[in-house]
Symmetry: C2
Subunit: 335 residues, 2 copies
Amino acid sequence: MKSGTILLSHGAGGKLSHRLIQDVFLKAFKNPFLEPLNDQAVFPSPGKRLAFTTDSYVVSPIFFPGGDIGKLSVCGTINDLAVGGATPLYMSASFIIEEGLELEELAKVVESMAKTALMAGVQIVTGDTKVVEKGKADRLFINTAGVGVIPDGVDVGPSFMEPGDAVIISGTVGDHGVSVMRERGMITLDVDVESDCAPLHELASAVVSTGFVKAMRDPTRGGLITTLNELALSSGHGILVKEENIPVKEEVRGVCEILGFDPMYLANEGKMICIAGKDGAKDVLKAMRKNPLGKDAEIIGEVIGERSGKVLLETSLGTRRIMEMLSGEQLPRIC
Amino acid sequence: MKSGTILLSHGAGGKLSHRLIQDVFLKAFKNPFLEPLNDQAVFPSPGKRLAFTTDSYVVSPIFFPGGDIGKLSVCGTINDLAVGGATPLYMSASFIIEEGLELEELAKVVESMAKTALMAGVQIVTGDTKVVEKGKADRLFINTAGVGVIPDGVDVGPSFMEPGDAVIISGTVGDHGVSVMRERGMITLDVDVESDCAPLHELASAVVSTGFVKAMRDPTRGGLITTLNELALSSGHGILVKEENIPVKEEVRGVCEILGFDPMYLANEGKMICIAGKDGAKDVLKAMRKNPLGKDAEIIGEVIGERSGKVLLETSLGTRRIMEMLSGEQLPRIC
């Protein structure tokens, strides 16, 4: 079954669809909620407050250094739950496949999803497959949705932010963006940057347990500055960050200088922005750095009582400027 | 905002993405769970047992008689929850848009989703938007995922099926398939068949409350026969249906004869197959017919103790033959 290409009949709901489900999806995702293959998965409610999220993934190319569209789709949904303070538990996976995709490539993506989900303790419990004619999609698009539970006592969100809170980033920014550029052949230099694509639920849980976390976000599409703008807008406060404190890998900085990109606007897929109460900032930083995914964490700025809804960047020269969300498109189909 | 076309920047996560979310999505779907625009929606757990489902929609064209891709995407997820005995409550909506789609068309689809969700008491609480380059998708693909609650005491599923149970269909088959063929210009006759696209949660709840329902399924892609095959496989029993009892509109029969399709394999988007205990079959039929969406309901056959996993069709001449799932593709991108 794993050789050959995807045909329109694989999406028709008939014999080939069923064989694809059995041989590729069920084999990789195997769990008691998925196995009945009903139109819906049924599970006991895991707690009082649930978190629910979805994202579609259209990254091109579908394989890149450090990951692939499958790993990305599982990490993305895990991370959207984790930054809400939730423990990710159940996930759906839906595939839109362009006719002609190699079955072997699909299987590789699916196995990558299964591996990532297993590592994170998440079960893929329901799904769907559609196939469109050649030229009507671009190889493979994946949607995942996820359900998690918010443990009792955990309350995070931009509404808790206050002036004086510290702004912490869990590591270097721009790695995912540069890894995709590398795979696209946009970079002629020999750079060794891999995507940071990773599930952040353990890091999130570790920082939340310090008791000092006000809000978390993962700075994906639009990068650090866009996500800080969202936090500023949602909280109604200003945010001031110091450029020299923002961790950026040398190779990433180099590539960005040559190609005219700003690493602060490049997508990350395994980083977290954490807003922490002033008195607890060092504890949160320490908790982050204990986790391999947070080893390069830095306090990069603070929430301020002025410039409501805006993000200010203080350069190494001490000047300040407002950093807005991008108005154009920096790098399409980065996730 | 509602004039113009979709640009790549609408999917970049920056200013245009935010404006699209505010002016199109938030305006249509407005509810307190969506409004914080966090990466995840948080809601109180609605009960002890939850149902979770997802489907992607790639129907072409995106508007057809009786519906559009938006209505379809909301009904489809509602129905996948409803046939599991669940009350649909929360939904996600994720859009993959081809650059160049008219904003007006997107808004029309989104309004159709909002209207259908409102009617069904479902809230669209989280979502995502991606834009791909012209030629890399076909106008608009939508994914919806849904969460519902299974009321205490409700237990349905193929494992409850027994020989002797009645097989009931809630109305005429093949309407959706023919409506899409009509919109594609495949039919030169003047036929007035609309898609049956409709949310089935009230019909499902009405039949379940009779206490005689063993299992339910909505016969979408692959049609009545494919879905009966799934029920036969999952239950381990055989299913015998009488051709003459299967309701088919005259126009649908006519179109199928001319074009060489079988209405029993054509997709439906507002029909339900219900397996009911023998003694309660008439009660279930009565409950169905009271609902406008079940007015043409018929008992079409029974679960049998032989031919495990197979579907038998008894023709009007009294001969019986095995009806398998389709092995090819009858009509691509029907949903």
